[in-house]
Amino acid sequence: MAPLSPAVTRWGLVAALLGLWELGGRTLVTDPRTALFLPLPSTIALAAAALARDGTLLAAIVRSAGRVAAGAGAAVLVGVPVGAVIATWPRLGAALDAPLRLVRPVPPVAWVPLTLLWFGVGERQQLAILAFAALLVVVAGTTDAVAGVPPALLSAARNLGERRLLLRVAVPAALPGVAAAVREGVGTAWFVLVAAEFVSASEGLGVLILEGRDLLEPARTFVGMGALAACGAVTDLALAALQRRWTRWT
């Protein structure tokens, strides 16, 4: 048997499933109401094209991605220094770390109702919940990364007269771990975004998904889900590439 092209071997199953879905929907299903439950791939594709054409899709993506960027950005700005501090100064670090450890088991999503109460419906609330969720992850990851810098490395640097120890040695050594923590933080933000958007129903991909249900256009829901997945994947890939570039020496 001639070797199959790599594309077929990777995506063959997915393509086959989509094909079955389409064909099955067209031929086997006679009740038109099923289209309300499970639209055909072709319907979804058409809906996606329509939403892209009239700009709704792009607007939703920009809105949601903007929130993730803002929330994750804030989390990184605060979280990386905090994590570094926790790892570097044991006693001060323990004082900072203990309350965080106490709060961490509570899933960030559980904070949504409280944040609604305190911030009301709006961008500030969205930002708060996303930033908080990402913060916990970034701090934890950064602490591990900085704590994981081999002490021998620091001693060696000190030996060679390197005064600004933190900057010249610890930062590059911890960079891979910190980059991974940032990636995780962004991923968590995307994870929580949907819940946040659902509950407070502001604009964005979450709203798109909900609209599909409210307007009885389930294709819209699927488009929203797909766009969400794509955005999350794209940002993760981009961050992964960035991570690789910065840590080329590992």
Partner: protein, 255 residues
């Protein structure tokens, strides 16, 4: 260590004391903030404590429901995920095909499935459990698959050389060999399972701690909401502790 650090260290001693001080500082800040706001916006720690005690029946009832959903979804994720990982590790073809499918599905945040699931299944344990399943499945499969692939080949050859039957091969050799990574996947999956159940309950479940928290906000009872969050946190932490203890015992042979 700098001089300041050393001095502070001498003053504070160890890590327990600073940790306790940190928590005390948090509680103090909370109490102070609560004093400036009315109790229906920000109740203080004392109010929350009272609520936890007063409403423990309600808390327990909802906790049980949430736990049930988590257990259901997580159990399914383990029951399906581990054999699936075994399949992916054993068959390169399956790995590429199914792996691609999983990569696509994994990108969709589990919670995004909620409207569809609500449409198909309505509100209830089923939808929530499926969200949990979707949340926990992917880390479990990914880590288990890596674990299976990481079993040293010499051990696999030795097992076959000594006459291991397929059953012994998989259960007494491959699974223990993969156990460290499998456990890391199990822990990650458990954390995501909790996140998913709370998210699912916020939107479409009757009963459960997540819904209770949402209701509490609607009823302007933030003390109940915080009580619920404490309950979730406690449950999640305790269960994770159990999981870690089980892991340590099972992996006691690790060098």
């Amino acid at each position: 260590m700098s001089a300041t650090e050393r001095l502070a260290g001498a003053a504070l001693g160890g890590r327990r004391l600073p940790g306790a001080l940190g928590i005390a500082a948090l509680l103090a800040a909370w109490a102070l903030a609560a004093a400036r706001w009315p109790p229906h916006v920000l109740p203080g720690p004392d109010v929350v404590l009272r609520t936890v005690l007063d409403e423990r029946a309600l808390l327990l009832h909802n906790a049980a429901r949430t736990l049930w959903r988590v257990a259901l979804g997580y159990g399914a994720a383990v029951g399906i995920g581990l054999p699936l990982a075994g399949l992916l590790a054993g068959s390169p073809l399956a790995d590429r095909q199914v792996g691609s499918l999983l990569t696509l599905l994994r990108a969709i945040p589990p919670f995004a499935w909620t409207p569809i699931l609500l449409l198909w299944l309505g509100i209830g344990d089923g939808s929530a459990a499926i969200i949990v399943f979707l949340g926990a499945l992917f880390p479990i499969v990914r880590q288990a698959r890596a674990g299976f692939a990481a079993v040293p080949p010499a051990l696999l050859l030795a097992a076959r050389n000594l006459g291991a039957s397929p059953r012994i091969y998989w259960i007494d050799v491959v699974l223990p060999g993969a156990a460290p990574m499998v456990f890391s996947g199990l822990r990650l999956g458990w954390a995501l399972a909790w996140m998913s159940v709370v998210a699912a309950e916020l939107v479409g479940a009757d009963g459960g701690l997540g819904q209770m928290i949402l209701d509490a906000r609607n009823l302007a009872r933030p003390d109940l909401a915080i009580a619920g969050m404490v309950a979730i946190g406690a449950l999640a932490a305790a269960s994770e502790g159990l999981l870690t203890a089980a892991e340590r015992h099972t992996l006691r042979w690790r060098p």
